[in-house]
């Protein structure tokens, strides 16, 4: 029997260690880090759903408390899978020190998923903010640098607000533990929650999300959407489990966030920004139910990572500069017709999964949340689901249109090339990853066969069809007039104050 008091801290700091070693000897460390990610994913996957929990205290009596429990396992699994997808699909495009930053990011994520101590949470979220800052600035042009600046100054202010909340709670409770927040005053709770919401990017605090996702590299967007925004979910879920006023306010915030961000996404013309708004809306849904928040965030993170990885074809990376370079050596592009086709298929499957289409992973998590929330929230929840299917109907439509417009698209349809296409399918490792992700998204839906009642399947299919119809009816609206992108720094920075004030008003006077 291994002593898990030593094992777990070692496992938490192993990614950061590998990341720093990887800065010195990058080529040798990379396979080890992939192996480690696979190990973490398998290890955490075997614990999902079981009620296993390990409590331990670092450095003896009065030290830092960690709790590896049912909140952490799904999120660890989701982040590892996201990083594996990004490593597999974008390895050739990595800039210097890219995967090392991802590994340090994973360490910060592991701390924030497992800790039950407010100060460790602060440190891990700040480390996470620095790593995310480097990932955003990785594209290294003027706009992405400015986006990174906005993210860092907004995140830094949010964390200071969080810290003020922590010290106020400390004067009342005398400890920094999450479970002692029961005795803390409302003001402290509001400040803490406002800081966490900004980090996880839920509605008003999450206005940085669409700007950054649309402009950063696709690999950075995938990591940000899949891992970074999940970090705030675990502590929020833990807090709403023990604090009733917080869980009630979370339902209000989640519902507002889900609907309004989905409306923004419907009227957004740029695919990257639409995905960003939809991410805000999905995380709003995730915080509705503390029990299933982590599973929902896991499913959403993996699907979003797949969506961002396959949003553009592999030769065109969203930016005009790299497209010009890649067109010159189009030896690869002829070989990769099947790869392109596979990318479109993965995009469609992942979109359908987020829509909650039956026999995909999203259907399970959507229904878990649906049966867990109060009846009043359920109506608005269904509205948000409908708007989500509208968004993804448009995204699928745009993706297929882009694919067919390519000159090589027709060769996939001709029967004479079918045998060659099939042999191409198994030629590169990227195809294996894409195929494997399709299969596992479908297989994941067998996790809870009890949910496949006739009415649930029927409502999911009807909502998908209605989304398509709604898309056709709004496609002609000139939305550029009234949906302007929010890019001013003032708006991004001031949002946490507004949310903290709203929460305080809710907790003290409205008591919803």
């Amino acid at each position: 029997m291994i002593d898990y008091q030593i094992l777990f801290p070692f496992l938490i700091f192993l990614p950061a260690l590998l990341g720093f070693v990887g800065c010195v000897i990058p080529k040798i460390t990379f396979p080890f880090s992939v192996l480690m990610l696979l190990g973490y994913a398998l290890g955490s996957f075997s614990y999902i759903g079981s009620n296993t929990s390990y409590l331990y205290t670092l450095v003896g009596e009065g030290g830092i408390q960690f709790s590896v429990d049912s909140y952490s396992f799904p999120l660890i699994f989701g982040s590892c899978i996201t990083l594996l997808i990004v490593f597999g699909l974008f390895f050739k495009k990595f800039t210097h020190y890219y995967y090392q930053i991802c590994l340090v990011l994973l360490s910060a994520l592991l701390i924030s998923f497992t800790t039950v101590d407010l100060v460790s949470m602060f440190i891990s979220l700040e480390l996470l903010g620095f790593s995310a800052f480097l990932l955003i600035a990785d594209r290294n042009d003027r706009k992405s640098l400015f986006n990174a600046f906005q993210y860092l100054i907004g995140g830094g202010l949010a964390m200071l607000i969080y810290l003020i909340g922590v010290v106020q709670a400390f004067t009342f409770t005398g400890s920094f533990l999450l479970e002692d927040l029961v005795k803390a005053p409302e003001t402290a709770l509001c400040l803490i929650v406002a800081g966490l919401l900004t980090k996880s990017g839920v509605f008003l605090c999450g206005m940085w999300v669409p700007n950054i996702y649309s402009h950063a590299n696709s690999q950075s967007s995938a990591v940000l959407a899949g891992c970074v925004t999940c970090a705030g979910i675990a502590p929020i879920a833990r807090m709403s489990q023990i604090l009733n006023p917080i869980s009630d306010s979370m339902i209000v915030i989640g519902v507002i966030s889900a609907v309004i961000a989905a409306i923004y996404a419907v009227f957004e013309r740029d695919s990257g920004r639409a995905l960003g708004w939809s991410s805000v809306s999905q995380l709003g849904i995730a915080i509705l139910s503390p029990t299933y928040a982590c599973s929902y965030a896991m499913q959403h993170g993996i699907c979003k990572a797949l969506l961002f990885s396959t949003l553009y074809s592999s030769t065109v990376d969203g930016s005009s500069d790299s497209a010009n370079i890649n067109i010159k050596n189009d030896i690869n592009s002829k070989l990769s017709v099947t790869n392109e086709f596979l990318r479109v298929v993965v995009f469609i499957i992942a979109s359908l999964s987020i829509m909650g289409f039956p026999f995909l992973a999203g259907f399970i998590t959507k229904n878990w949340i649906k049966y867990d929330i109060p009846y009043e929230a359920k109506i608005i929840y269904t509205t948000a689901a409908l708007l989500t299917s509208t968004v993804y109907a448009r995204l699928i439509f745009d993706r297929i249109k882009n694919f067919i417009r390519q000159p090589y698209a027709r060769s996939i349809m001709t029967l004479s090339r079918a045998s060659k296409n099939i042999s191409d399918l198994f030629s590169s490792s990227q195809n294996y990853i894409l195929l494997f992700s399709i299969i596992s998204l479908i297989v994941a839906s067998t996790a809870a066969p009890a949910l496949f009642t006739f009415s649930a399947v029927q409502s999911a299919i009807v909502s998908a069809i209605l989304g398509g119809i709604l898309f056709v009816s709004v496609v002609g609206i000139q939305a550029d007039e009234f949906v302007k992108p929010v890019t001013r720094t003032l708006d991004l920075v001031g949002a946490p104050f507004l949310v903290a004030a709203l929460l305080l008003a809710n907790l003290i006077y409205l008591k919803i």
Partner: protein, 114 residues
């Protein structure tokens, strides 16, 4: 609510936070918002130190002659991390400002947000 001396001591720090937030929300250039963030950072750290000192203001070090009233060492130990993190944030923000300053030396948001 009664005003104890411990609470009265916090008033300048809260005023400093408000000044910092005002500066952050009204700044027209990058450098000013960077400095405002530093003001809020310092105010937060001071609040931690003052709250730790509410039990007593003598150094919490065990020696042969013991003091009667210690300050609480726990928040002080923790705030060291926050000081370092605040410093790191400032360094990263300054690096970004240096990079962006080559193209638009005034670092005004009006120019940068296009």
């Amino acid at each position: 609510m009664d005003l104890t001396p411990e609470k009265l001591r916090l008033i300048p720090m809260v005023a400093l936070i408000i000044i910092g937030c005002f500066g952050l929300l009204n700044s027209k250039t990058m450098l000013r918002s960077l400095l405002s963030l530093d003001v809020i950072d310092t105010a937060t750290i001071s609040i931690f130190v003052l709250i730790a000192a509410s039990a007593g203001s003598q150094t919490p070090i065990v020696t042969a002659s013991r003091y009667s009233s210690y300050s609480d060492p726990y928040p002080q130990a923790i705030i060291l991390t926050a000081i370092v993190i605040g410093f790191a944030t400032q360094a990263l923000l300054c690096a970004i400002a240096l990079r962006l300053g080559r193209r638009s030396p005034m670092l005004r948001y009006r120019d940068l947000e296009k």
